[in-house]
């Protein structure tokens, strides 16, 4: 027995990183923070407050805990361009300065809290997180989505938006999905027929062409073929340009956002949303409805992912075949966000391309689906034979 066990592959679960990734993190749709109330965000192992200044109209993000006595500003109220603490009414402006303490003769000279760098883009709110406290370089930003900012933005629906809190998993789990060709068949019920990854700089891309499994109904975005061109811009924000074949030679254009921010090292908030371009003859309402359906499809897909993550172990030494994507190279790319900028190595950012041979996998999967359908048909036949006259 001992001799046999020596041959066994031992999982190295490793440990989640002790810091959080450097990068822009999407906190949600900007409009959801513009209701005049302060909002609490649990992220990066702490709590933040998001509020809109009444005069400047800008969204601001501060540490939620008031440096005075630790009150939670997110439970306070907005007064002018400041957020007021519910505990003693200390006022904090968007730049982190204390602008007033109504009962005190003087504001202490060091009354300053942490203000987080924000970006409003694609109708979403982002914060910059960097453990070293440096601002983002110009080359690292969130690109504008043409369907939101472009000249034809009027043809696109508004965002649908959903959130899913994932407990017991580090956010590396969702990032691994970029390279995981085979899970698209088992978890998301599609045939990934073409699959290529490109990692370069702070961007990681997955190009995929797929079609739905005939033996499953859930989790696919469309009944026909799907082309997907999806890039992570930094550690946590993915823009997925989707082209869905809806028959008659028509493709529906969809943009799906898949993003997250870490709550702590063992949980994260997954967020996703979609916009859809109106097809000729499609009303605005129909485009909104298509976006809602896309989000529903994505929801089913992500819930299936979460079910896997909830029950799996972290694994630092995955055992791979040639049909598995470049997991180790992806993690080498991802590592750049967890080290100081001075320690980012060329190997983490140099361009790397990996195109999987999907043919053998799809042959096996087509046969499996055909067998499932045949078995189902045989069962139906048997039922008909057992109860003659009741079948149609």
């Amino acid at each position: 027995m001992t001799a046999l066990n020596e041959e066994v592959r031992v999982i190295d679960a490793g440990r989640p990183p002790t810091r959080f990734a450097r990068g822009w993190h999407c906190l949600g749709l900007a409009r959801s923070f513009k209701d005049g109330q302060p909002h609490e965000i649990e992220a990066f192992g702490t709590r933040l407050v998001v509020f809109q200044g009444q005069d400047d109209g800008e969204l601001h993000v501060l540490n939620a805990y008031c440096p005075h006595m630790g009150g939670n500003l997110a439970h306070g109220s907005v007064k002018g361009d400041a957020v007021a603490c519910p505990f003693h009414d200390w006022r904090w402006s968007g730049n982190g300065r204390c602008t007033g303490i109504p009962y005190a003769r003087r504001v202490p000279p060091r009354a300053r809290t942490r203000s987080w760098l924000t970006l409003e883009r694609n109708k979403q709110l982002f914060v910059w997180h960097d453990p070293e406290g440096k601002p983002p370089p110009d080359t690292v930003t969130i690109p504008e989505i043409p369907g939101v900012h472009g000249p034809k933005a009027g043809e696109w629906s508004d965002w649908t938006w959903k959130t899913l809190r994932v407990e017991g998993s580090n956010c590396r789990e969702i990032v691994d999905n970029i390279v995981d060709m085979a899970h698209f068949f088992y978890v998301h019920y599609s045939f990934p027929e073409y699959f290529k990854n490109v990692f370069e700089g702070h961007i990681a891309t997955q190009y995929m062409e797929s079609s739905p499994r005939g033996d499953m109904d859930l989790g696919t975005l469309s009944a026909g073929g799907l082309r997907s061109d999806a890039s992570y811009y930094g550690p946590s924000y993915m823009i997925d340009y989707l082209y869905s074949d809806i028959g008659g030679g028509t493709e529906m254009e969809i943009v799906l956002i898949n993003c997250h921010y870490p709550i702590d090292e063992n949980s994260f908030l997954l967020q996703y949303g979609a916009i859809v371009r109106q097809l000729p003859g499609m009303t605005r309402e129909q485009a909104e409805e298509a976006a809602a359906q896309t989000a529903e499809g994505a929801a089913a897909g992500f819930e299936q992912d979460v079910e896997i993550w909830k029950n799996k172990t972290r694994i630092d030494n995955p055992l791979l075949t040639e049909e598995d994507g470049p997991v180790y190279q992806l993690r080498r790319w991802y590592e750049q966000f967890y080290v100081d900028t001075a320690d980012v190595k060329d190997e983490m950012t140099r361009r790397f391309e990996f195109e999987i041979d999907t043919e053998r996998a799809n042959q096996a999967w087509r046969a499996e689906v055909a067998a499932n359908l045949a078995q189902r048909e045989a069962q139906r036949e048997a039922q008909r034979a057992a109860a003659p006259g009741t079948g149609a």
């Binding site: 140099r350 041979d357 999907t358």
Partner: protein, 75 residues
């Protein structure tokens, strides 16, 4: 991984092929600078990370396979 040189611009990459359809390419220099095709597209405003493939490099890899310089594991 084996070195392959682009026949058009001389850019050198490292390549591996498990099968005729599989290709793994590790670039050894800044792609936006080292590759003539990427340089041109970056000059037009593209981001090199968002270019799927360099056609010339791909042709060069195929050529290396045809000439037996780059071995395909599974043939």
């Amino acid at each position: 991984m084996r070195p392959v040189e682009c026949l058009t611009c001389g850019n050198q990459v490292l390549c591996e092929k498990f099968s005729p359809a599989h290709t793994s390419v590790q670039w050894t220099a800044d792609a936006a600078v080292a590759c003539a095709e990427f340089r041109a597209r970056v000059a037009e405003g593209a981001h090199s990370a968002r270019i799927r493939t360099c056609r010339e490099l791909r042709n060069s890899i195929e050529q290396a396979v045809a000439e037996g310089e780059l071995e395909v594991a599974d043939v």
